[in-house]
């Protein structure tokens, strides 16, 4: 019981903050609670199936397969798959983190994981269509092309600045998650 309380301490504090907000400004406080509700609802729409699919992937996809298509020697194919996985997904960025961990477990190359995260954050295809509709195609196409280069560059830069030892630590941690 005490352990659970400790784990959820921050959450309880934020809820307390919300109650204080409600007392100071009713309108903003209520809005914040309804925001929280709708965000939870949004999450329930995507997270449970994602976690179930991840669990299945974890037990069924052999490490060798993943290593072949996204691992150290996967080259261009690995980059393309990372982009594809990220760009056709739905959900906010934080839904991509647990997926990245399973990819690590399965031996995907670190820069490919970072490219996957980058693609998930900014080159989503459904979002691109929406962006075109509200901002015009010149805006969305320019941003899309720039983002492809940016995502790859950022992926490689981070890999460059991460030592083998740090990477190993991260992959080991992933195995325990």
């Amino acid at each position: 019981m005490k352990k659970i309380f400790k784990r959820y301490l921050w959450f309880i504090l934020i809820l307390g903050l919300n109650i204080i907000l409600l007392m100071i400004n009713r309108k903003i406080g209520l809005k914040s609670i309804s925001n929280f509700g709708s965000i939870i609802f949004e999450m329930l729409k995507i997270l449970p199936p994602i976690f179930v699919l991840l669990g299945l992937m974890d037990v069924w996809v052999p490490k060798e397969t993943m290593e072949k298509i996204m691992g150290e020697k996967s080259g261009l194919l690995g980059i393309l798959i990372a982009f594809f996985l990220g760009s056709f997904a739905a959900g906010p960025l934080y839904a991509a983190f647990p997926i990245a961990v399973v990819l690590m477990k399965k031996g995907a190359k670190f820069s490919n994981i970072l490219i996957f995260i980058g693609a998930w954050s900014t080159t989503k295809v459904p979002m691109f269509l929406f962006e075109t509709a509200s901002m015009g195609w010149r805006f969305s196409v320019t941003r899309f092309i720039m983002s492809i280069f940016g995502v790859i560059t950022i992926g490689y830069l981070i890999e460059l600045f991460t030592s083998e030892k740090e990477k190993k630590g991260l992959y080991n941690k992933a195995r325990l998650m």
Binding site: R7, Y8, W10, F11, I14, L21, I28, G29, S32, F36, I39, E42, I46, L47, P48, P49, I50, F51, V52, L53, L54, G55, L56, D58, V59, W60, A90, P92, L93, Y94, F97, P98, V101, L114, I117, S121, T122, K124, P126, M127, F130, E131, A133, S134, M135, F139, T142, R143, M146, S147, G150, T153, I154, L157, I158, T162, E166, L170, K173, M177
Partner: protein
């Protein structure tokens, strides 16, 4: 629509998996629950915090803050607001269109959208848990700087 597809996909795979191997399927579900429960406290905290931030930073407030401030100051403000909040695209783009109509520049809006999607200060604690501090901070910093490059190019293309 995509959400239902995801549920459908999960259910289909679960059934196939269960037919093939009950024990493995059980293990998969156990793993799924474990990895979910593992992040649940951070997750709920961040979502509750997000609720508060989004209540304070309503579309109107954002539009006011960004307003018609042009140039570097406008871009700085846009990048800061974009970095704190994590607004889903389907809310962000209408705001962006509104900003455009109100006279904000393309470069400011581009910086806002890019930081919004790539940089997340509120979600950092969660990112730390998965990637560690150094890599998370690096990723967010690079993404932040990159947003300005995108904005500069868009500013030139859409002149």
């Amino acid at each position: 629509m995509f959400d239902y597809a995801l549920y459908l996909l999960a259910v289909i795979f679960l059934i196939v998996s269960y037919k093939k191997d009950k024990k493995k399927t059980k293990m998969a579900l156990k793993k799924a629950w474990k990895s979910f429960e593992n992040i649940l406290p951070q997750f709920l905290t961040i979502l509750a915090l997000l609720g508060i931030v989004l209540a304070l930073l309503s579309p109107e407030v954002i539009a006011n803050l960004l307003g018609q401030k042009a140039g570097w100051l406008g871009m700085m403000i846009a990048s800061i607001i974009g970095s704190i909040t994590l607004i889903p695209g389907f809310i962000a783009f209408p705001i962006a269109a509104l900003l455009l109509k109100n006279g904000a520049g393309y470069a400011q809006i581009a910086v806002f959208i890019s930081t919004l999607m790539m940089v997340g200060i509120i979600t950092l604690p969660l990112e730390f848990k998965y990637f560690g501090k150094k890599i998370s901070i690096m990723r967010n910093t690079f993404a932040y700087l990159f947003s300005f490059i995108v904005a500069l190019v868009i500013g030139v293309v859409l002149r």
